[in-house]
């Protein structure tokens, strides 16, 4: 992305979908583990939509960086993912 604050949307989605780590690796030594079949997750997100020299749209995203209310708030869009086991 031209704007370094943002990462490409697919990386953002991967980060959001990276639930295996929390759900399995943390509990590898346990005898009984419950595994959710479906997870819905959502977060506010800042978007940077850019048009490159080939007229292609590039979508950059980051979650909110600060939790302080200011007079000029960034615009928060919203992204919701449904993640399921294969």
């Amino acid at each position: 992305m031209d704007d370094e604050d943002f990462i490409a949307l697919h990386e953002f989605i991967l980060e959001m979908a990276n639930v295996d780590f929390y759900l399995t690796e943390h509990y590898l030594d346990e005898e009984i583990v419950l595994k959710p079949k479906k997870i819905e997750t959502q977060t506010p997100v800042q978007l940077a939509i850019e048009i490159d020299e080939n007229n292609e749209v590039k979508i950059g995203a980051i979650p909110p960086m600060y939790y302080v209310e200011t007079t000029f708030m960034p615009v928060f869009h919203n992204i919701k993912l449904t993640i399921e086991t294969e």
Binding site: A8, H10, I49, I51, V75, L81, T85
Partner: protein, 251 residues
């Protein structure tokens, strides 16, 4: 961010969004090779604060910037679809023997976008809806009709088959004098009768096909030095030749 905030149209935005989701799923599926239990992204719902604008033909969007009030909320939901669903719901891509409407220069942009709106993207599509007796004039709001398009398509088709002349012979004998033209794509469309004009006089075509034209001319019309032969083989093709009897004659 503000200086890069340019308006985009929905089609190119969706293209990028789909690519992003595909990339994410590819990475996840690679991960699935090594791990027994993995999660796949089934759908993504992106809700955005946007300002749409309409210039008369196209709708464009620009993301709301900090401090701007009253943005429209637009939500796009992308679900993973299987290849079978794609086959059911989308059109087949244009085949190699078909011509994409987008590539035909003779058709103006307005007609192209009118056709695209009604799902016609190739010459075969056009044939299909013509066979089904669809009233193209009505569904395109009188912007186009088959006759107009057929002419443009024929013209485009003819541009791909330019006539080439390889050899011209004069056959002068007592039974009649002929100019014989050999070449390629001389006459391609059987619906039109080709016309030959030799030195300003209409000449009779005894034989006219793709590779050979046999033109009957009056002996007295043949000039010693320079002769002119004009062939009109269809409404889009006209070719003119300067012929010198001294080099070509077989008297």
């Amino acid at each position: 961010m503000a200086n890069t905030n340019r308006a985009w149209n929905l089609e190119s935005f969706l293209d990028s969004l789909i690519v992003e989701l595909d990339k994410a799923e590819e990475t996840l599926s690679v991960k699935a090779i090594n791990k027994p239990l993995t999660y796949a992204v089934k759908d993504v719902n992106l809700e955005m604060q946007l300002f749409p604008s309409f210039d008369g033909t196209n709708v464009k969007f620009v993301t709301a910037e900090p401090g701007q009030q009253g943005a429209s909320k637009i939500a796009i939901q992308l679900g993973s679809i299987t290849d079978q669903q794609i086959r059911k719901t989308s059109k087949e891509p244009t085949k190699s023997n078909d011509i994409s409407i987008d590539l035909i220069e003779e058709i103006d942009d307005e007609t192209k976008s009118t056709l695209r709106k009604i799902g016609v993207t190739s010459v075969n599509d056009l044939d299909q809806i013509q066979k089904s007796n669809v009233d193209l004039e009505q569904i395109s709001n009188k912007k186009t009709n088959y006759g107009k398009l057929a002419n443009l398509l024929q013209k485009a088709g003819r541009n791909n088959l330019p006539p080439t002349v390889k050899n011209v012979n004069f056959n002068i004998s007592k039974s009649g004098s002929f100019v014989v033209v050999e070449g390629d794509n001389l006459v391609v469309d059987k619906r039109y009768t080709p016309v030959a004009v030799f030195n300003g006089k209409l000449a009779e075509l005894e034989n006219a096909d793709q590779g050979l034209l046999n033109i009957k001319v009056q002996k007295e019309h043949i000039n010693e030095a320079e002769n002119e032969l004009v062939i009109v083989s269809d409404p889009f093709t006209i070719y003119k030749m300067k012929l010198n009897t001294k080099n070509n004659s077989h008297a």
